[in-house]
């Protein structure tokens, strides 16, 4: 292949790369600085509200993986009492179909996303572990009421090129909502 003036293309590319040297970084220092995730994040497993759950097992039937195990018995008021509500999150693919199908809003996806564990058995979550707690907050996925209360997601598109600098909203370390930290 012949070129009239060899090297022009490379020089143009280099000029662009050089310009990039003066652009402020758009990355963050992850464990110290965290971006705000989407309000609808399908994050940490599930959050289960025992008071709303009727034990209808719609969620278990809609799970493609068969992750949710529910055992009930008939209670005094002819209702179902949930004896066991166990989710094997090691096999969960965070599709959210269980949350979408629950007719009583008794299930929500979690908000946090750091869920590494040392043993597989720790990923099977029992009734108690699935409850709302400091580290297990619900996300707004298929739950518009929760969605409205969550902070706005940080978006890279809204990062200001002219003004430069870090314009993404960050969650400071002290307020992080991860599990097992």
């Amino acid at each position: 292949m012949k070129f009239e003036r060899y090297g022009i293309g490379i020089a143009k590319g280099m000029a662009l790369t050089f310009k990039h040297l003066f652009r402020p970084p758009i990355t963050v220092q992850y464990p110290e600085e965290k971006l705000v995730v989407s309000r609808r994040i399908r994050g940490n497993e599930l959050v289960w509200y025992p008071d709303r759950c009727t034990g209808c097992a719609t969620c278990a039937k809609s799970c493609p993986q068969g992750n949710i195990e529910i055992v009930t018995h008939v209670g005094d008021e002819n209702n179902y009492v949930v004896d066991k509500f166990e989710v094997d999150t090691g096999r969960c693919m965070f599709c959210g179909l269980c949350v979408e199908s629950c007719p009583y809003e008794a299930l929500a996806m979690g908000l946090s996303y750091e869920r590494a564990q040392y043993r597989r058995g720790q990923l099977v979550l029992s009734k108690e572990e699935l409850r709302l707690s400091d580290v297990r907050q619900p996300s707004g996925y298929a739950r518009p009421k929760i969605e409205a209360t969550l902070p706005e997601q940080s978006l890279l598109v809204n990062w200001d090129r002219e003004k430069g600098g870090q314009k993404l909203s960050l969650v400071p370390l002290s307020k992080k909502r991860g599990r097992g930290v």
Binding site: G96, M109, L155
Partner: protein, 367 residues
């Protein structure tokens, strides 16, 4: 004195940065010249087609995410379109627009990866790919906003989409659409005239037009060979007939044309987005479909123009809640069959870039 030589078999992969996943190439070499290649696939086989026969139509949607995981939305779309054809479901207008908008965003994101990694294979280690990742990241942010995940979206539903878009979505997307052409110009400045790229990729790995058709190649690989075939135009699905866009075609069918076609397609996708955003109507985003859908007995083949080519789903229904047969036509598996004809006679380094220019995704090849 003559030197005695004999062919040498070189295993590339399955764990190798240039194989884009777990893919193994058994290349027979004569010195540095490729005499034969034999793709060895199946390392990522999960049996999705069989698993799908035991699950309901809705439960299969998250599985389609895991085919071509760099373009999950279009996988979802191809599958739900096939089911809708089978069950004759009417999709609300707003959902159709949201499908087109997200599918075109996905096409841009997937082509950014394809172009970036093609250059990575070429030896431009990581610089172009990081430029392109910056834009892809913006799209992933937007997908995360709509459906809560960054890779496996599970967004389409039979009869529409799972969620309406939040308020902040459209302003952010408009901003992206406004600045994206500038970024594509930047890539052109960085790459299109680059002598190293031109020398390495022009005339390399040529796939002639006739062979491209005979090997059933599709997508940018086919169009780079000069065939104007885009299912969005040839067999319009969803509402693509309402938009005005061009189909970029190459002429030589070499690696450079495949790169060029992808860059031009990004521009066209931006054009479709520009038209679709102002037209987006108000209304429902999902039709009323029974949760346990039982489509009538029959079979259907639905196909779309996925970023990598023609993605088709062949479904057979026996009027039960699960498909009787669930067959996927993955574009990259079929594009890969043409690899052998493209690389014989070229050097090993050209084999790597030709393979990169096909833009494979192993999740889809092995299924």
């Amino acid at each position: 004195m003559a030197i005695k030589t004999e062919p040498f078999i070189l295993n590339i992969g399955p764990q190798h940065p240039s194989t884009h996943g777990v893919f193994r190439l058994r290349a027979t070499l004569d010195g540095e010249v490729v005499v034969d290649v034999e793709p060895v696939i199946g390392y990522l086989h999960r049996g999705i087609e069989k698993l799908a026969e035991g699950r309901t139509y809705t439960q299969n949607i998250p599985f389609t995410d895991r085919l071509d995981y760099l373009a999950s939305i279009t996988n979802n779309l191809a599958y739900v379109l096939a089911v809708e054809k089978l069950a004759e479901v009417k999709v609300p207008e707003r959902a159709e627009y949201l499908r087109v908008i997200t599918a075109e965003m996905m096409r841009i994101a997937s082509h950014l990866m394809a172009v970036g990694f093609f250059l990575n294979d070429l030896g431009a280690m990581m610089t172009p790919v990081l430029y392109m990742w910056r834009e892809r990241e913006k799209l992933l942010d937007l997908f995360e906003m709509v459906c809560g995940q960054r890779l496996t979206y599970n967004y389409m539903r039979i009869g529409g989409v799972s969620h309406d878009i939040p308020e902040e979505f459209l302003p952010a997307l408009k901003r992206f659409v406004a600045e994206m052409p500038g970024f594509i110009d930047e890539y052109d400045q960085l790459l299109a005239g680059n002598e190293i790229l031109l020398v390495r990729s022009k005339g390399v790995g040529v796939l002639p037009e006739e062979l491209a058709i005979n090997s059933a190649a599709s997508g940018p690989v086919l169009r780079a060979s000069g065939v104007k075939w885009d299912i969005r135009r040839a067999d319009p699905y969803s509402i693509y007939d309402r938009f005005d866009f061009d189909i970029p075609v190459g002429s030589a069918g070499d690696c450079y044309d495949r790169y060029w076609v992808r860059v031009q397609e990004m521009r066209q996708s931006v054009r479709i987005l520009e038209q679709a955003i102002p037209q987006l109507p108000e209304g429902e985003v999902c039709a009323e479909v029974p949760r346990l859908l039982r489509p009538p007995v029959g079979e259907v083949y639905g196909h779309i123009e996925a970023p990598k080519g023609e993605l088709g789903f062949y479904l057979v229904s026996d009027n039960s809640i699960a498909p009787y047969r669930f067959r996927i036509r993955p574009p990259t598996l079929i594009n890969l069959t043409a690899l052998k004809d493209m690389v014989i006679g070229w050097k090993v380094a050209d084999l790597i870039i030709t393979f990169g220019s096909i833009d494979v995704c192993l999740g889809e090849i092995d299924r």
